[in-house]
Amino acid sequence: MLAELGNFSLVMALVTAVLLSIYPMWGAYKNHPQMMAMAKPLAIGMFLFTGFSYFCLTYAFVHDDFSLAYVANTSSASLPIQYKYTGVWGGHEGSFLLWVMIFSTWTVAVALFSKAIPVKMVARVLAILGAIGIGFYLFMLLTSNPFDRLLPFYPIDGKDLNPLLQDFGMIIHPPMLYMGYVGFSVAFSFAIAALISGQLDSTWARWSRPWTIAAWSFLTLGLALGSWWAYYELGWGGWWFWDPSENAAFMPWLAGTALMHSLAVTEKRKVFKSWTVFLAISAFSLSLLGTFLIRSGVLVSVHAFASDPSRGLFILGLLAVIIGGSLFLYALRASQVKSNGQYTLVSREVLLMGNNVFLTAATLVVLLGTLFPLVHKELGMGSISIGAPFFNQMFTYLIVPFVLFMGIGPLSRWKNQSPQALYKQLTIAFGLSLSAAVLINLSYDQVSYMAVLGLVMSFWIMVTTIMEIQQRIRSQDNNQSANFSELKKLTRSHWGMVLGHLGFAVALIGMALVSAYSDERNVRMAPGDKIVVQGYEFEFKGVTAHQGPNYTADLANVDVFQGNDKIASLVAEKRFYPIQRNVMTEAGIDSGFTRDLFVALGEQLKNGDWSIRIYVKPFITWIWGGAFIMALGGVLSISDRRYRMARLAKNNKANKTANSSTAQPLSEQVS
């Protein structure tokens, strides 16, 4: 019964989405305040209906309602309770419900937290979100309804959740990722609303900045969690595989990073306006493209959902309408935009443009690398595969100039920067980072040039970031002594940038060192055997059997010694899930600040020995730590007083201008 209510509620959400897409838009066009005022209650309605629908599906999971086809396919009676809650997004239909749930949450957030923005703009933005919503709700109801019944013949027990997803990382990875993906729909809607209204000035950039940063922070966390999950759950010990599904999430992140920076330039300097709009359209379009690639089964990947051409066709239709429509609108309107800022060849504008160029190039590399095999095959030239070596090589080329710009950009001035003034600082920064990188690498037996390069880049970012803080404090007070209390005067959004850049440097250290100095051994061991890897002695104690709630497992016990001290006792598992007939590895990992010790259990060999993988991974946790710092920077940026104060200050002003058709761009506040 509750499932039918859930289904009905989903239909109601579709109806509110339809209304939301019509009334406020019509109201904005006709200048009709009541119609525009409909936007907020409709957005809330859409959120509540979706939320109730989501609740109903969760209820069905928790109460083992196997008469629902989706529950029967993704859950089982013996599934541990926490996975019944998270199993809701363990398959195609449910994860799409989570997707629309998050989508309606963003929509309602825009409706509630946009008091500072003119009513007309909010009405348009919400109407566009509603229009996007129509597509997604229709998709759910027509091709992937999680409430479909298996009556009258339903199974006694379900087919169980895919064991890969029965894991903590999987509990939080998809919601974070979707928050990011879907969050770009807000920046997209702001851009489209600006295009429709023809007011492509810098105000829309100001309004969509916090939303973009929020979405970007979630996406950063989502990507890091996914990478972390792949590391410990897939048992390969790698942290990035250039799998199509990873690429699908990475492209919006790259475009989103570019957008975040470009929005800053557009807001502060009123230049690159049409480029910024294009990036806003691209970031969300790439999210949609990623959804299509993963859910249509066009590409082979670990993630691929059961492929059904009708679903793929529907999403493709959505892509054609949403992306095609917005690019068409873009072509009509962007050509009339004039960027009127002035700047010279060496200036922060140009350096940020450089950053954008490299991020865009990186996005294109991933896009081409992901789609080229498909295009190649459809052109009848046979099948090829593009793997990690291609991406790694391209990214090594791209990251060097990118990082160079990343160091110089924050140090330089808007409009015009004399190169001579920077010369001294940059020489010092380069000297410092080069010597630090070389010194650290000398502590390894075999120095890797790539690791030196990676560390030079990390230190370069760190040193220039610190220099920038110094410079900022000096310019604020015109005094030469930079003492600690001065640091407090920097705005939170400034600290956001600092953390974002430092986080990137931290992640880069992890990537460089783990790529160059990992030690990976696949060995055969009998109980009692020992092996020394990078000074750590691994002793294999043997394998014991274990019975879990919905699986059986072999547990391999491995003790690790350094010198005579026992530093870790690792347990690597090999689980067998009988319902899905799946074998899973759970690696035994000892995480440390400077290294991870990683043990995974392989097959039992014929004479009773076991094959065991033993990895020593230096600094690998820094990769995810760095991503976390970056996301934290995003959070700091959003919480900046500027956005809160501006809201209060503008409230009055916005109310006054709401009814006039020419809402003036609000005064620029350059921090």
């Binding site: 049409s274 294009f278 379009s285 299509f292 249509s296 089964g297 066009v298 590409l299 082979v300 051409p309 793929g312 066709l313 493709l316 892509l319 054609a320 992306i323 095609g324 690019l327 068409f328 873009y330 072509a331 009509l332 962007a334 050509s335 789609l371 498909l374 295009v375 095959k377 459809e378 046979g382 099948s383 090829i384 696949n522 055969r524 060999l605 014929k606 004479n607 094959s611």
Partner: protein, 190 residues
């Protein structure tokens, strides 16, 4: 107007992309076409499975239409396929095996060649031997060069030693009728 045309570029690129995505929907991503189609079999010198002193090279394919079948005793689908291959052989087809063994591994290797031969003979006694001879791809180099993705796979090679067809998965009467029969007849006529 020129300016609008410039801003229309992304839209056109996107439309181009859409057509490929549309086509992609209706083709199977797991289906691979060998990159070597219409090319000669790559050069190799490999031992015969049953007599490792005897060496085969790419020239063994010259002069006869050959079905090169990639298999191993460890592969269950291959075992299902063997009786049908036997039937093909009785119809007069020339079938050569490309044998590779998963357990002969530099790190974990515990199998001897004698052991492999014994296992193969055992399989023959149960299911029949369709092969004229078997090329033993010890290090799997030839399989890699051929673009083998797994077993079983079958290559149709013409009298000049050129690969004309690559089939992934087992060979059965249906696959033969749909995919092989026409090309085989054409090759016989050449």
């Amino acid at each position: 107007m020129n300016k609008t045309a410039f801003y229309l570029i992304p839209l056109f690129i996107f439309i181009g992309l859409l057509t490929f995505l549309y086509q992609g929907l209706f083709s199977n991503p797991r289906e691979h076409e060998s990159t070597l189609l219409e090319h000669s079999v790559p050069e190799f010198v490999l031992p015969d499975l049953m007599d490792t002193q005897k060496k085969h090279t790419q020239d063994v394919f010259i002069g006869k239409i050959t079905l090169l079948n990639v298999w191993g005793v460890w592969c269950t689908t291959c075992a299902i396929e063997l009786p049908y291959l036997k039937q093909l052989q009785q119809e007069g087809k020339h079938i050569v095996g490309l044998y590779y063994d998963q357990d002969i591994d530099p790190d974990f290797g515990i199998k001897t060649v004698q052991r492999v031969q014994q296992e193969v003979n055992q399989t023959y006694s149960q299911l029949g031997n369709p092969y004229a001879f078997n090329i033993f791809d010890v290090k799997r180099n030839l399989s890699l060069d051929l673009g083998v993705t797994g077993a079983p796979e079958t290559y149709l090679i013409d009298k000049q030693g050129k690969i004309r067809l690559h089939h992934i998965g087992d060979l059965n009467p249906r696959v033969w009728a749909n995919k092989f029969a026409a090309i085989y007849a054409q090759l016989e006529a050449e």
